[in-house]
Structure formats: C-alpha cells, structure tokens
C-alpha cells in the first residue's frame, strides 16, 4: 500500500469535486498532532484539499458526519464507512444522489500501535459501493489486498464460550463503562433524535443500580441495533474507557445472520431485515435460541 499516493489522489479528487462544483463539501480526515491520529474535517474550499490525509491511523468512521451535514457531500470512505452508508441508504436516512463516495481501499487501520478494533476481521478491504475508486496504490483500481488476522477472534471466542462465560465477559466490559454515551454518538446507526436513554427515568441508585443502568443501556442499544449494526466498531474505537463493545455487537450480528441469513451494509436496496416479515421467519428472538 502507498498512503502518500492515496493521499495525493484523495486531495486531487477533493480539489476537482469542489472546483467543479460537483459537491458542496468533502468530509475526510486531517492530521492532528495533539491526538496522534487524523481527526474529522469538513472542507468547503478547493484550497483546503491539502488538509486531507490518508494514512494507517485513519480508523475513525466518518459516515456519521453525513447525518450532520446537508447538501451534496463527498466522503472519503473506507469499507466500514461504506457499510454504514449502505445501512443509512437502506433506512432512507440519506439520498444516494446527494452523496459522492470516494472509495478508499483500506488494508486495516492501526490504533495505539495495534490493529484497530474490528479491522482484523473486516470482510473486505474494498468499499461495497463508490463513485470514485482510490486503490491502495493510489491508482483508480482496487488491488488484491489480504487482511491480516490479529489477536483474539471474537467470533471464535463466541462459538467456544458458554452463556455464563459470555455473561461474565459482558459484565467485565460493562464495569469499565462510565455511561457517557459516546458510543451512541459515534455510531452511524444510532441516529434517533430522542434516544430511549435520554428519557432515563430508571431507578438510579448507588453503585449496584449503576451497573443495572449500564446493563439496561447497553442491552437496549444492542436490541435497537439488531440487523442494523454493520460491525464498523466506531463505538469501540471512541470509547474513552476501553470498553470492548464488540463482544456484544458481534453476538448480535451472528444472531441476525444465523436467524435471518442477513448481513447488514451490503445491499443499499435490500429491505432492512427488521422491517421485513415472512411467515417462514424463525420465531427465535428475545428469549434466545
């Protein structure tokens, strides 16, 4: 891979799109020394194209900014951002003709010196849909790129763990949570304007009930994301407390896949799985398999 070539191609594309008036803004990432990895930027002038960057630390999912901007927007999107975009298209939250996808090939990103959450099990380095292709060598074709597996494979862990072990793991993760709701804010699928948790009238009690509230928040959020979570791991990547949310969401994804044979973020024209009903549907659900 050649990040310099990719960056140059991205800058040239942004410059062209803005100069020719194809789009009103370009959403991308810009170097940020204080933070140590590129952070989101929205540029509106061709002169600012040079602020965009593409490197091995571009793990932030920026699809969420499509919901926070209006007009015709271009976005420098890697495969996971595009999965989020596809889900948003399928859910009628975006108009395809307003979005210009600059498809960035991504061999997996690095966060804190290690593969970023989820990157080791990413299904593909190539964005599912795009209007412009920037391959990993900076050219306009996607290369043949293999993703390297790394660390504990959450899917295998799930398969080999008992329910009690899964529960224990979940509680261990949740204990770190400070209920800041950053995971929700960063999730491109969490776009409700009135979130259930903001109506928090739950029994707030000291310490142990605090845990109950965390459980209520995380399990309800997970329920709401069944068939909608694209395994982008935006939530885990932004969690300041290091909560490994993937142990929860991977389970939801497997469940939806096993039960309905549906993978989220693949086909923008597919009906969202929770919105479709057939008499053949398995009735497994809330009560488990």
């Amino acid at each position: 891979m050649d990040y310099t070539a990719q960056t140059n191609a991205l800058r040239a594309a942004a410059d062209k799109l803005l100069s020719e008036g194809t789009v009103d803004c370009v959403i991308g990432l810009t170097p940020n020394e204080a933070v140590g990895f590129p952070t989101p930027i929205v540029i509106r002038n061709p002169e600012d194209a040079g602020k965009l960057v593409w490197d091995e630390n571009c793990f932030t999912n920026i699809a969420v900014y499509l919901l926070r901007t209006t007009g015709r927007r271009a976005i420098a999107a890697k495969a996971c951002d595009v999965r989020s975009i596809i889900n948003l298209l399928a859910e009628n939250q975006l108009k395809r003709d307003e979005i210009y996808i600059i498809g960035m090939q991504c061999p997996g990103m690095i966060k804190d010196g290690e593969p970023a959450p989820g990157c080791d099990q990413c299904p593909s380095s190539v964005p599912g849909i795009s209007d412009l292709t920037i391959g990993s060598d900076g050219s306009d074709t996607y290369q043949d790129e293999k993703m390297e597996p790394h660390g504990e494979n959450v899917t295998e862990w799930m398969e080999n763990s008992t329910d009690a072990e899964k529960k224990e793991r979940f509680l261990k993760e949740i204990d770190k949570c400070i209920l800041c709701f950053t995971c929700r804010q960063a999730c491109p699928a969490c776009y409700c304007t009135a979130c259930f948790i903001d109506r928090k009238a739950d029994p707030w009690r000291q310490i142990d009930a605090d845990r109950a509230t965390k459980i209520a928040f995380h399990l309800t959020r997970a329920m709401h994301l069944a068939g909608r979570c694209t395994d982008c791991c935006a939530c885990e990547k932004v969690c300041a407390s290091g909560v490994n949310l993937r142990y929860l969401y991977r389970g939801i994804i497997e469940f939806v896949s096993d039960t309905y044979g549906f993978t989220t973020g693949v086909d923008p024209d597919a009906r969202p799985v929770m919105n479709s009903f057939t008499s053949e549907d398995s009735e497994t659900g809330f009560l488990g398999r």
């Binding site: 810009t30 940020n32 020394e33 204080a34 933070v35 140590g36 590129p38 952070t39 989101p40 930027i41 929205v42 932030t60 969420v64 900014y65 926070r68 204990d175 770190k176 400070i178 209920l179 800041c180 709701f181 950053t182 929700r184 804010q185 960063a186 304007t193 903001d198 928090k200 009238a201 739950d202 029994p203 707030w204 009690r205 000291q206 605090d210 990547k237 932004v238 300041a240 407390s241 290091g242």
Partner: protein, 324 residues
C-alpha cells in the same frame, strides 16, 4: 515543608494500614486503561509518568450521588461518607480542586454544597509530579508547574525502590514513616500565557463557533473526562414508596442539556454547546470565582473523536481579540 525518605515497600505497608480509614484512589491499570481507581491493595497502584485517562473528580463528585432518601412521612438517614485518600494526583488534577472549591464552597458565600463539602473536608490528597508533557498537555501555558503542587497534603516521588515524601499539611504528619532528608527544590511556576481577557459580549456572537464545532458529535467525552466540568442534574427514583434523590453528572455537550419542560432549549446547535463549554471555563468562571477552569490536562483534546481542540480555540480567540 519537611521531606522524608522511605522505601516503596515501607510506603506500601503504611498505605495498607490506611485502607481501613480511607477509600484509597490511585492510578492503576487494573481495569485496562490507566485510571484513578479505588484500590484495596497497594500492589495494584501503577507508578508511571502517564496521566490517568479521566480525572479524579469522582472522588468528591461521584457520577451518581445519593443526596436524599425519603418516604411519604419520613426522611431516611443516608450512610456516612467514608473519607477519600487520593494518591498520585498529578499537579494539574490537584489544581482542579480549586475550581470545585470555588464553585461548591465559594468563600464569597454564594453557595455552599454540603455534599461536596463533606467529602472535600474529609479528603486527603497526596500528589505526584510529571517528568514529561504528553501530547496535548498544556499545563505550562496555564501557569502550572508539572513537577509539583503544594495544594495538597503530601507529595510523593518514586525513585527506583526509594520513595520521597514531602509533607505539606499537618494532616499528612505521621501517616508515613521515613528518615528526614533535605527539602525539595520547588521550581518557579511558568507564566500563564493561555487565558481570555475579553468579555463575554466580545466573543459570544463574533467568533466562528460553527466552524470550530463542525466535527463535534455531541458525545460528551470531553466533559466526562475533564477535571473541572461539574454540571449536574437531579433526579428522583421511586422504589415502592421510598424515593431516592440522586445527583448525576450532566454535560453541556448533550443535546438535552438545559432542555426545558416546555420542550424549548436555549442552545439548539452543537456550536452553541461548544461555545458554552469554552466560555464556562475561560470566561464565566473567571468572572464568577476568579479562576479559569481549565488545568491544561489535555484530556478533552486527546479523547475527542471529532478532533476538537480547546487549546487552539482559546488561542484563536486570543488572536482575534487582540491578545496573541
């Protein structure tokens, strides 16, 4: 200021003896990320130059704090608060208690918060210094010496297996054993170069708040990890006739912050919310309690998913209002 020398082992022993009397909070990686954790074994302390990812404010300002419990007829007494010993607090974090004291126990008599005051009065702080600035840190520009602060009861420095303890207040006397040694040389604090002198009206509508807050997703991480953010909400929970009244953290970055019962909200955009965060720290509290409520710890910068940088915003404001 007296200084004593002891060993880490002896220090841990003395500390273990204090565990009965105090809830001891100290930097630890026991849960993964370095954080000020309530420890039950001195071995769990992580001695490192790094800054815990979130501030120690929870020790006196818990995330959820029961402030009252009552039934239809009676007020049910709540349990006594166990004193906190905060160990290994960095100089910037020690400074933050000045802000909390100013807001919650103002000497001007504006408002005394009994819940905070009780915890704070009982609290013991043992600081420890920084050898190096981390990316995003700017305590020096805020006028604080990263190596030392005397706004605590004692200050420790670990050197291999040796431990040096500066005894600052009377409350620290006798807690730890050790032999006398020459006192510490205290550096002169750097000059404060990052502050806003302008008035609210000069900044409120004239700054490009929309641009600055463009990439903010309203997640509130900045306020939850910040040592000086102290906004709270109060909620009642009814459990079979017994009501618990709790105070919980709030955040100006949430969309439902200051949401009125009628459904209106004076701050409707994320830009207005970000403006509140900057102004509250650098203008309003400066005017109200005489302290700029930012210690320069850099946590909000390092952990912001949107790359929002309060240091750069304040610098920009200084430039635009005529102060470089």
């Amino acid at each position: 200021m007296k200084r004593i020398k002891t060993t880490k082992e002896a220090f841990n022993k003395d500390l273990a003896a204090l565990l009965d009397k105090f809830d001891v909070f100290a930097p630890s990686t026991k849960q993964g990320k370095l954080d000020y954790l309530n420890i039950t074994d001195p071995e769990d302390i992580t001695w490192t130059d790094d800054l815990p990812y979130k501030s120690p404010k929870e020790t006196v300002f818990p995330r959820v704090e029961e402030i009252m419990r009552f039934t239809k007829d009676d007020v049910v007494p709540t349990a006594n608060v166990k004193p906190v010993l905060l160990l290994g607090a960095k100089p910037c974090d020690i400074e933050s208690f000045d802000v909390f004291d100013g807001v919650f126990t103002s000497e001007k008599g504006l408002y005394i918060d009994p819940f905070y005051k009780e915890r704070r009065d009982k609290m013991l702080i043992i600081g420890s210094g920084c050898a190096a600035k981390k990316p995003g840190c700017f305590c020096d520009e805020r006028g604080y010496d990263m190596t030392f602060s005397d706004k605590c009861d004692a200050f420790v420095a670990l050197d291999g297996d040796d431990m040096y303890i500066d005894l600052i207040t009377d409350r620290a006397e006798g807690l730890f054993s050790g032999s006398d040694c020459p006192p510490r040389e205290v550096n002169k604090a750097p000059e404060t170069t990052l502050k806003i002198d302008a008035h609210e009206n000069d900044i409120f509508t004239t700054m490009p708040w929309e641009d600055w807050a463009m990439s903010c997703i309203g997640c509130g991480t900045c306020t939850y990890v910040c040592p000086t953010c102290h906004c709270f909400d109060i909620r009642d929970a009814d459990d079979k006739g017994e009501v618990t009244r709790c105070r919980l953290w709030d955040s100006c970055m949430y969309s439902n912050f200051t949401l009125h019962a009628g459904g209106t909200n004076p701050r409707t955009t994320q830009a207005a919310r970000y403006r509140q965060r900057v102004m509250h720290k650098y203008v309003y509290l400066r005017d109200n309690i005489g302290i700029t409520a930012c210690t320069g710890c850099g946590r909000c910068i390092r952990l912001c998913p949107g790359g929002i940088n309060i240091h750069d915003t304040v610098k920009d404001i200084m430039g635009r209002t005529g102060k470089k």
